[in-house]
């Protein structure tokens, strides 16, 4: 269910602007990898290259390789749609489909692709996904109500349920807790710990404590200045990055001494 990601010499562009430069890293299966770094350093941009969501933006393109268990996502003839079915994504702001009920939102990946499914199968998938997202108890009475009627934290967990209902190999999370209160954040963090048993998880976060709490590996990104591309500065086990980083810039960022 989970796969290793290898990234070789990856550059990301928005038109002529080079946003991320020369990233090489390996992300282990069944682990949580956190990306930290200042705003605008290309963490989210890089994350979106891992399921080919980067190129959705007009003018954006990528150079380099991303290997998912040895298969290049950017190889010739690769359909981004197939990539995205294997690499799920949770966004910064909860984005349930407003026209759909809670149930249809969870099953959206199947419903939108018009995949046929037995009712019993759909119900068990619905229940297991919502249970994995710690949302089942709160919504089981109102599965046919619109998803947009939930609270922000519930909506975000609904989006997580929607992503894991597709049973992806990898789950990408782009600041999933930045719009949530501490209690909902805790719920999502607990969820990440449970999910890493089955999935490879990559999470972008601005919250250093969160990175320290949930991740096994941490990657620090930084930019030299405005207009310069973001770079991967250092990557290693979370304990090491937070205790004894190799690079001075990492230590400065983590301890709050920058500028």
């Amino acid at each position: 269910m989970s796969k290793r990601i290898e990234v070789n010499d990856l550059n990301c562009y928005y038109g002529k602007f080079k946003a991320v430069e020369d990233v090489t890293m390996t992300i282990e299966p069944r682990s949580v990898t956190a990306f930290i770094g200042p705003s605008g350093c290309g963490k989210s941009t890089f994350l979106r290259t891992l399921n080919r969501m980067h190129e959705v933006i007009p003018g954006a393109f990528v150079e380099g390789d991303v290997l998912l268990d040895g298969n290049n996502l950017y190889g010739p003839g690769v359909d981004p749609v197939n990539v995205r079915r294997q690499v799920g994504m949770v966004f910064q702001r909860p984005n349930p489909f407003p026209t759909m009920s809670i149930k249809d939102n969870v099953l959206a990946g199947y419903r939108l692709n018009k995949q046929r499914m037995r009712a019993s199968e759909a119900d068990s998938l619905l229940e297991s996904s919502l249970k994995s997202a710690n949302l089942w108890e709160e919504v089981k009475q109102r599965l046919d109500k619109p998803g947009s009627g939930l609270s922000g934290g519930q909506q975000q967990r609904l989006c997580i349920a929607r992503a894991i209902a597709m049973q992806p190999e990898v789950l990408l999370m782009d600041e999933p807790c930045s719009a949530l209160d501490p209690i909902s954040t805790l719920a999502v963090e607990d969820l990440i710990q449970e999910l890493k048993e089955t999935y490879t998880i990559v999470i972008v976060t601005h919250n250093m404590q969160q990175a320290a709490r949930v991740s096994d590996e941490t990657a620090f990104f930084n930019i030299a200045g405005t207009g310069a591309p973001g770079r991967l500065i250092e990557m290693g086990s979370t304990d090491k990055i937070f205790a004894t980083p190799d690079v001075q810039a990492t230590e400065d960022y983590i301890t709050g001494r920058f500028g």
Partner: protein
């Protein structure tokens, strides 16, 4: 009790220096009365419109001065602006109400069963109706809608979801240009097109539909484009991230999210073209008989019927005028029903947010 009386006697600093609620109305009534007196004395006798105008002219500085004295500068400016805005609104409403009233009072006389069951075939003088024009309007507008909506909808989808570069810019430009085409030109275009394809002098319902299509497509494109653009990009990304192809995302996420708005936009664009007269006079022509075949012979439509009854009356003019008014009333009623339908659909089928 003593504390209670003391608090009620004390002036609340937050409500001090305000005009009481009735002051506005007293000032307004006073201004109108003074306006009426001036009107009666200075001008040639009392007249309601001159009185209202003079009343308004007197009211504006008076309410400003009164409010300035009691409430201060900010509140006075607020009162003046409120008065001006309300006045502008009433002024804009006046022709609308007058138009509706005139049409209603003149048109109701013949708004009867005969009007909706008879055509004008062999009718001279009294009686007769507009069933032929009603059929024509429904057929011509219906065909125009059937042609315009798919073209307009797909153009809008192209512009919002796919369009980049010179082609999209060109389409946007020409849609803008088409919005400004005089409707008579659309009629001439349809007439000329029919003349080329089916031979000179081809005048029928379908030709009218073509003329209306030229006018309707840009309206549909504009309305739909706006609505597709306000569908949040996050929803598209959410769908892509689930491995849904772009065309399914558009079909199953973007369109349903904007559907209620699109449907009401289409209905409003029908309401816009249903009253077009000039292009139909050229392209669909005149007739006094029922013609339900859009591909042969002229077809009467309601706006043309109204024009025809008014412009080409028989000897007893009054009957023709009555029919013209009733035709206009029917048309207004039709547009109003369409508008209400559009609003209802927009409300009823909008994405629900309820808990």
């Amino acid at each position: 009790m003593s504390t209670l009386t003391s608090t009620t006697n004390k002036v609340n600093p937050l409500t001090a220096g305000q005009l009481p609620g009735f002051a506005l109305w007293v000032t307004l009534a006073g201004s109108v009365v003074i306006g009426g007196i001036i009107d009666s004395l200075v001008f040639y006798g009392f007249d309601i419109w001159t009185t209202a105008f003079l009343g308004a002219v007197i009211f504006l500085p008076v309410i400003y001065a009164v409010a300035r004295g009691v409430e201060g500068r900010r509140a006075a400016a607020d009162r003046l602006a409120t008065a001006l805005v309300s006045g502008a609104f009433l002024l804009a409403l006046l022709p609308l109400v007058s138009l509706l009233w005139e049409t209603l009072s003149n048109g109701v006389a013949r708004f009867d069963a005969t009007f909706f069951t008879w055509s004008m075939r062999n009718v001279i003088g009294d009686g007769g109706g507009a069933i032929h024009a009603l059929y024509g309007t429904l057929i011509v507008t219906g065909i125009a809608t059937l042609i315009s909506v798919p073209i307009g909808l797909m153009t809008a989808i192209y512009l919002v979801e796919y369009g980049r570069g010179p082609l999209a810019r060109g389409i946007t430009f020409f849609v803008d240009v088409m919005t400004g085409i005089p409707s008579i030109v659309a009629g001439l275009f349809a007439y000329a097109l029919m003349a080329i394809v089916f031979g000179p002098g081809t005048v029928n319902g379908f030709s009218g539909s073509i003329a209306l299509t030229v006018l309707m497509i840009p309206i549909v494109v504009r309305a739909t484009e706006e609505l597709l653009r306000i569908v949040p990009n996050e929803l598209r990304e959410a769908s892509y991230a689930l491995g849904v192809p772009k065309w399914r995302t558009i079909l199953s996420v973007v369109l349903p999210t904007a559907l209620s708005g699109i449907v009401s936009g289409i209905i409003l664009s029908i309401a816009r073209i249903i009253g077009e007269t000039a292009p139909l006079m050229i392209a669909a022509g005149f007739t006094n008989s029922i013609n339900t075949n859009p591909f042969a012979n002229p077809m009467m439509t309601l706006p043309v019927f109204v024009y025809d009854q008014y412009a080409h009356p028989g000897i007893e003019r009054v009957f023709y005028n009555e029919r013209a008014w009733t035709g206009a009333l029917t048309l207004i009623a039709l547009v109003m029903v369409l508008n209400l339908l559009g609003r209802f659909i927009a409300k009823r089928f909008a994405p629900q947010t309820g808990r």
